[in-house]
């Protein structure tokens, strides 16, 4: 899913406001990307092109930086963002089976979003909650001591509204 041009135009004034705060030096690129991603939710090509133009960089340079950092994404993220840990402790405790279960059930791989835009999956390294391994976060909220069945049950509860985000905030 990518932002269409019309949607981007709605963001453009705000994106330009962000860029105005900076002096237009290439060294500011990462900070600008952070703020732009916060604004739009991800960094679509069209936004990268605007940033490149304003910082007087080749679009390829911007894209190169975006591609290097896991934090930046060229693709939109789902309404519910699952980050599943594959650090050492979680891996030993069976996170691989959980990953496979989620991939099969929802038809997405790490870095992807379901077609309805509801759910996206990210495999991450150590969430720093090894005592709860295997562990995942859904929109930042940790769920631990998982097994494959428990994990998809939790995800389903988000998807069908049984768990409301604010309750967990």
């Amino acid at each position: 899913m990518s932002l269409n041009v019309k949607e981007l135009r709605e963001y453009e004034p705000e994106l330009m406001n962000i860029l105005k705060k900076y002096s237009g030096s290439e060294y500011e690129l990462i900070e600008v990307l952070h703020e732009a991603q916060e604004l739009i939710g991800y960094l679509p090509k069209e936004a990268q092109k605007i940033i490149a133009r304003q910082l007087d960089l080749a679009p390829g340079r911007v894209s190169s930086v975006v591609s290097f950092y896991n934090h930046f994404s060229e693709y939109s993220k789902g309404e519910f963002q699952v980050s599943l840990c594959k650090g050492t402790a979680c891996y030993v405790k069976g996170s691989q089976e959980i990953i496979e279960k989620i991939e099969n059930k929802y038809g997405i791989k790490s870095g992807q979003t379901t077609e309805d835009g509801k759910l996206s999956l990210n495999i991450v390294r150590c969430l720093g909650a090894c005592g709860l391994s295997p562990v995942m976060t859904v929109n930042g909220k940790a769920h631990g001591l998982l097994n494959p069945e428990k994990a998809v049950k939790i995800i389903d509860s988000y998807l069908n509204g049984k768990i409301k985000e604010e309750e967990n905030a």
């Binding site: 090509k45 990268q48 092109k49 490149a52 080749a58 679009p59 390829g60 340079r61 911007v62 894209s63 190169s64 591609s67 290097f68």
Partner: protein
């Protein structure tokens, strides 16, 4: 400020060197060759490949010698078993993710990875694992990109960014997923790539090379119905023999002509002839613009990489470009008109081939404004390949001369192949055209040499002509900055490649500064040895105008020899 000197020890030998010297350069002073792969003198210093490792005795660490500066008291081992073992292991890691198909690889002979594997005595690759899988990018008519051969040395990225200021390819992704590609774009054709081919000159493997049209040309030569004519660019005759003798700076014009005749070309003509024609047309255009208040400064238009560049980045200056086609395309247009009129050959049977030092020429020949005039463009490297395929011993070939009608050229045509050459050739003709007097001092030394931007003022009968010469596209950008700041110029020569065509993207590989210098020297030697050194004195150019084109800038000249440009959006 001079750097202070430090004392270091390399393999037990003491030496005093400047403080900021790299270990690699310090070792060179002791006649020690440390193997390198990603390193490219003055151009790529990133320590990515870990092939140039040395052992620092003081700390016990291994360091990449290309990027580690020396310091007082440093003791270095360049040839310990630990060093050899680790270099070899790093090489094996590179090989473990390399699509190894040496015998059928375009870079078989020139591959630096293969050479180093041989030097290191690699007999097996101990590591096996997942290999990167990518499609070959065949999107342009000039250059292909095969990421499965790429070792991520990033030389191409450095050259494209720092020398050409184009940044068509970058590193994309990280870890195992890392790939060098047009990062923002799908493929080269969509990217800002101007097809200059400088990346193909520095790629150590077969990941970036010219798209070959050798088979197509063989087929044309084998077809008895076809009448195949060939033209050879000025810079090819001073570099072709490098592919056989390994020596640079040899002038091999006559042997090259023999080789082409023996390959089966029906007529062997000279792009230098068309270069003379270009000069007559371009000098005429220059004088007209001066006299009639046309757009100035006039920009030269014979380098297709430069044309792609200005169409992309500075389209607001397209009116400054000379409308003259490049010599290659003038030749192509004349082959299909003037030449056909002078032979029994029918249009449908005519095939025109060019031998060019250039990858962008392949693209130029396919531009819609002039498509069909030149059928196939081969680089100097491809011609060398054909000569090898035919089994000729190049050094032993006898001499022969270009065919007439379009085979005669002056010294002015010859110097088209070097930076500054088009300017010098044009000034020689413009001077005589404006003043009506004979130019006595033919050599215009101030436009010669490798300086990044050469500026001169020439006094032509009281008319002060301000000229500039730039080669390498980052230097072209600098000239645009000067123009935008209000600096006055009348005439500017631009060439995309450093050194001009002699350093073109289609030239024999492994050319360092010394090789480029030798090629340039050879080009000026051809010029000096010519009896006629001004384009408008070429008797066959005079004949061409008399019998066919009427006058420079005539209606028919415009129809055949001039073109238009377009804004290229990326």
């Amino acid at each position: 400020m001079e750097n202070k000197l430090v004392n270091i020890e390399i393999d037990g030998e003491s030496i005093e060197v400047e403080a900021e010297t790299s270990i690699l350069d310090a070792a060179k002073k002791l006649n020690k060759d440390i193997p390198t792969l990603c390193y490219l003198e003055e151009k790529n210093l990133i320590g990515a490949c870990r092939i140039c490792l040395v052992e620092i005795e003081n700390s016990g660490k291994l360091a990449a010698s290309c990027i580690t500066p020396v310091s007082e008291g440093l003791k270095i081992k360049t040839n310990s078993s630990r060093v050899r073992r680790n270099r070899k292991m790093n090489l094996e890691f590179l090989l473990s993710n390399h699509n190894i198909e040496c015998p059928s690889c375009i870079s078989n002979e020139s591959c630096e990875l293969r050479e180093i594997a041989e030097e290191f005595g690699v007999r097996e690759v101990r590591f096996e694992g997942k290999k990167s899988s990518y499609q070959i990018d065949q999107s342009t008519p000039s250059i292909f990109r095969d990421p499965e051969k790429c070792i991520l040395c990033r030389r191409c990225e450095s050259v494209c960014r720092d020398i050409q200021s184009v940044e068509a390819v970058q590193v994309f992704g990280r870890g195992f997923e890392t790939v060098i590609k047009p990062s923002f774009y799908e493929n080269l054709a969509d990217s800002p790539c101007v097809l200059c081919g400088q990346c193909t000159l520095v790629c150590p493997t077969g990941a970036l090379r010219e798209k070959e049209y050798i088979e197509e040309v063989w087929q044309a030569l084998d077809d008895p119905e076809k009448h195949v004519v060939v033209q050879t660019a000025p810079a090819v005759r001073v570099s072709l023999s490098e592919a056989f003798s390994g020596k640079s700076g040899e002038i091999c014009t006559e042997k090259m002509v023999t080789a082409l005749k023996k390959l089966g070309f029906d007529k062997v003509f000279d792009t230098n002839f068309a270069a003379d024609l270009t000069i007559v047309e371009e000098a005429n255009e220059f004088v007209e613009r001066i006299n009639q208040g046309g757009k100035l400064p006039l920009f030269t238009s014979c380098s297709p990489g430069w044309i792609n560049f200005i169409e992309e980045y500075y389209p607001e200056y397209l009116d400054n470009l000379s409308s003259c086609k490049s010599p290659q395309q003038m030749f192509g247009a004349l082959a299909h008109s003037y030449y056909l009129d002078n032979t029994e050959v029918e249009e449908k049977d005519l095939i025109v081939v060019s031998i060019m030092p250039c990858t962008a020429k392949k693209f130029e020949a396919q531009r819609e404004e002039m498509a069909g005039d030149v059928d196939y463009v081969l680089t100097t490297r491809e011609l060398a390949q054909m000569i090898k395929e035919a089994g000729f011993k190049f050094e032993n070939l006898e001499d022969s001369n270009f065919d007439q009608l379009m085979g005669e050229s002056t010294g002015a045509g010859a110097i088209f192949g070097t930076t500054g050459g088009v300017m010098e050739a044009a000034l020689r003709t413009a001077y005589e055209k404006i003043t009506g007097k004979e130019l006595e001092e033919i050599d215009i030394n101030s436009v010669r040499g490798f300086d990044e931007i050469k500026k001169i003022t020439v006094n032509i009968d009281g008319l002060e002509v301000k000229a500039a010469v730039a080669h390498g596209l980052s230097n072209a950008r600098k000239v645009f900055e000067m123009i935008k700041k209000g600096e006055e110029f009348h005439f500017i020569e631009f060439m995309a490649c450093p050194g001009g065509c002699l350093g073109g993207g289609g030239q024999p590989l492994a050319a360092d500064k010394e090789v480029l210098k030798n090629r340039m020297k050879a080009i000026y030697e051809i010029d000096t040895n010519k009896k006629l050194r001004k384009s408008h004195e070429n008797p066959y150019i005079i004949k061409l105008y008399k019998e066919y084109l009427e006058n420079p800038g005539s209606e028919i000249a415009h129809k055949l020899l001039h073109t238009k440009y377009k804004v290229r959006k990326i």
